[in-house]
């Protein structure tokens, strides 16, 4: 049909435009020039011969991976009349809510600035630059005085904003009726129910092998594990992103995980990427940002206190400080409902030529932000690769966990999905917790905002993040949260206060993620 053809050509044009500026384009051009020397390339059929050469030499596969990556990350082009805000977030009231939340964050940061009399950014004097360069690999040994700094916001502040989110066109009566939501989230977003989730997560079913279940010591490896590892190695030799994404839905063998994630996220370590990271490092050394102190404080408060992650403290600084200087992250704001904060060079207020984004990547870290990076340190030891993987994970997934949007993987939808699942399939538990003043979302929110990092054991967390990559969706976080409540339902039914409920759910480190998910989705009698 005419409409579909024009949609397709629009998508193709957009992807081509995006890829033109990339490294891959330059490499393909170079390869094409070099291939002219080859005997099989004839002038008469130049186009077809070069295409054939690309196919044989594996470059077509790289291009396919790049296109697949773009399709996964960018939303489909919307209606031509839709303004750019519509692509960020189609619902007007959510855009407004995100705008006011951002204003609160900016006010908080500004007041911290004026109270402590510290500038947002300043150029480091040469002596300080040298010192930092020497200390680059052991920034964790530094003990700056951070007592006056406080995190800009914590997940529970964000939860309060989400609880107060209202659609002005929705019947929000004061009296309870069939219209009121019994949970904390009061916006009527579309969320999947269990039959739809079963279809979406079909590879997690009881009859399909899973790493995390079928690789336990009691199960002989010939049944599933050996074959799965063999297929994984084949996927890696083929270097096919789409195949890797499909494969990882059943979990990734520990030995192959680092390469598989890099393949799915389409990260390859070229000299240009390492150079880019070094450039970011130079930026960190040259300019000192207030955000750096917030990062220091966050790492000291969260990752350094964690039994699994304290060893990676230095890596975390190296990644997060560079992340703040990376302007390529700004491009994700095209599909993120949030907007980067703006500032003006000192003395040039209001002059657009002197307007800059602060921090350069537009992302203000909150309490617990460093936990997004920490689990990745188990997989990648080379700082520039670790950095690239984290950046790609952030612009694909993690940004949705702390911005207000109606996207199915956005935190609002995840909260609503969690509450709906609990209400529908564990109504007695939900009612009991509500009656004692322990709304379940108050406990599970912090798990979902951090994608369970710091709450689960690391091997279980990595199995969970395998599925996030495999399904290109964060909905599994909400399903896991509901599954955890289902697992501890018996104990929860006996508690009589929010504090007691929190105590029952305080320690998740012994949980096995995949059996919980499988039972909740496929084996619960409804």
């Amino acid at each position: 049909m005419l409409q579909e053809e024009s949609d397709l050509s629009l998508i193709i044009a957009q992807i081509v435009q995006k890829l033109k500026g990339s490294n891959l384009y330059a490499q393909l051009e170079r390869q094409a020039w070099a291939s002219l020397q080859r005997p099989e390339i004839k002038l008469e059929s130049l186009k077809e011969d070069i295409k054939e050469f690309f196919k044989i030499s594996g470059w077509e596969k790289k291009l396919q991976n790049a296109v697949y990556s773009e399709l996964s990350v960018f939303p489909l082009p919307s209606h031509p009349a839709a303004p750019p805000e519509h692509l960020k977030e189609p619902l007007v009231y959510m855009r407004k809510a995100q705008g006011s939340w951002e204003k609160r964050i900016l006010k908080s940061l500004n007041s911290m600035c004026t109270e402590l009399s510290i500038p947002l950014a300043r150029k480091r004097p040469v002596g300080e630059q040298k010192e930092l360069l020497n200390k680059w690999n052991e920034m964790g040994t530094d003990e700056p005085d951070l007592s006056l700094f406080r995190p800009v916001y914590a997940p529970k502040d964000f939860l309060e904003v989400l609880i107060n989110l209202r659609n002005p066109n929705y019947e929000n009566g004061d009296s309870l009726s069939f219209r009121t939501h019994l949970g904390l989230i009061q916006v009527p977003l579309k969320v999947k129910d269990i039959p739809e989730l079963k279809e979406f997560f079909v590879e997690l079913g009881l009859t399909t092998g899973q790493l995390g279940i079928d690789d336990s010591t009691q199960v002989p490896p010939e049944l599933f594990e050996n074959e799965h590892v063999r297929i994984g190695q084949k996927v890696l030799t083929e270097q096919d992103s789409a195949a890797a994404q499909q494969y990882i839905r059943q979990g990734s063998p520990t030995a192959l995980r680092a390469e598989l994630w890099a393949l799915i996220l389409n990260i390859s370590s070229h000299p240009e990427d390492i150079l880019y990271y070094e450039q970011l490092k130079t930026n960190v050394i040259q300019h000192d940002l207030l955000v750096d102190s917030l990062i220091y404080k966050d790492v000291k408060l969260t990752a350094s206190n964690d039994d699994y992650y304290f060893v990676f403290e230095d890596y975390l600084y190296q990644v997060l400080l560079c992340f703040s200087r990376d302007t390529s992250v700004l491009s994700h704001f095209a599909y993120n409902s949030a907007s980067p904060p703006k500032s003006y060079i000192r003395g040039k207020l209001g002059l657009e030529e002197y307007a800059v984004f602060y921090p350069p990547n537009g992302v203000i870290p909150f309490h617990g932000f460093s936990m997004y990076v920490a689990p990745l340190c188990f997989l990648y030891h080379e700082p520039s690769k670790l950095y690239q993987i984290f950046r790609e994970m952030y612009v694909r997934f993690f940004f949705r966990l702390h911005s207000i949007s109606s996207h199915p993987s956005g935190i609002v939808s995840l909260c609503l999905l969690f509450e709906t699942l609990l209400q529908t399939y564990l109504p007695q538990l939900f009612y009991h917790l509500r009656e004692i003043g322990a709304q379940p979302l108050r406990i599970s929110f912090k798990w979902m905002v951090r994608a369970f990092s710091g709450y689960l054991a690391t091997d279980q967390l990595l199995l969970l993040w395998d599925r996030i990559l495999g399904y290109n969706s964060l909905e599994i976080l909400a399903v896991l949260a509901a599954a955890v409540f289902a697992f501890r339902a018996v104990n929860l039914m006996e508690v009589t206060s929010l504090a007691a409920a929190e105590a029952v759910l305080a320690d998740l480190s012994t949980l096995k993620v995949m059996p919980l998910l499988q039972i909740f989705l496929f084996a619960t009698v409804t």
Binding site: M1, L2, Q3, Q17, K20, G21, S22, Y25, L43, E44, L46, K47, S78, H79, A81, A82, H86, P90, L91, L106, K107, L109, N110, C113, T114, P119, L120, A121, K123, N167, P168, N169, Y170, E171, R179, P188, L189, K190, Y276, Q279, H287, R325, T327, S328, L330, S331, P341, K342, S343, Y344, I345, R346, L349, E353, Y354, A355, V356, Y358, P360, S406
Partner: protein, 213 residues
């Protein structure tokens, strides 16, 4: 293809409700919007574009100009087009929508008036409508040129002069040269839009406070 916006007059929405509006508890679930074209002759409709606001289903009726003396009748050209897959949830609630000629049930050659019938069966929403309604007709076709006679009816060619030995076929050479020319044109026309990566202004990044605007 090009399209031209047609100036239209959108009348106020009329709610269809059974019983007395003042005393009944519920809100109307059906609204009717009439669209007239006072200053334009009957035209061929190409596209209808609007922004949805919580309307679940859309029906469009059209009144066309007929050449005979019979009065123009209302005909349904779009029946129960679904804008919101789940009327109780936000999916599709504020989307931009385009409806084209080929989606209509009848020919839209001589449109006089349009009637949009909006339905929202869910009682959850306080109001619903469609906004930013725009109607388009076909834009002007490229002016037809009359070709000189020798272009459209070429004279049968004379016997070509015998080819010299060793030279390639001229028609093949010309097609290859054309292909290469097209490739070079494509390369020339392409330009990238990547960022450079600098976040400072001339090496200076001294900032005081964040701006709220």
């Amino acid at each position: 293809m090009s399209r031209v916006s047609v100036p239209c007059h959108v009348k106020g929405t009329v709610a269809l409700q059974v019983g007395d509006v003042r005393t009944s508890q519920g809100r109307p679930g059906v609204l009717v919007i009439d669209v007239t074209f006072p200053s334009v002759a009957p035209f061929e409709l190409q596209e209808i574009m609007f922004k949805n606001y919580y309307t679940a289903f859309l029906t469009i009726r059209v009144r066309q100009h007929t050449s005979t003396h019979t009065p123009a009748k209302w005909v349904t050209c779009l029946r129960d087009f679904c804008l919101m897959p789940d009327p109780h949830s936000e999916e599709g609630a504020q989307e931009y929508v385009s409806l084209f000629k080929h989606q209509m049930l009848c020919d839209m050659a001589q449109v006089l008036e349009l009637r949009l019938i909006l339905r929202q069966p869910s009682p959850l929403w306080l109001s619903f409508t469609v906004e930013e309604l725009q109607i388009f007709q076909q834009g002007p076709k490229s002016p037809s040129m009359t070709f000189p006679k020798w272009l459209s009816h070429p004279v049968p060619c004379e016997q070509p002069t015998p080819l010299l030995e060793g030279l390639p076929d001229p028609s093949r050479v010309s097609s290859e040269v054309q292909q290469m020319w097209a490739l070079t044109e494509m390369i020339r026309a392409s330009h990238t839009s990547t960022r450079i990566g600098r976040f400072d202004v001339d090496g200076c990044y001294d900032l005081n406070l964040l701006s709220y605007t």
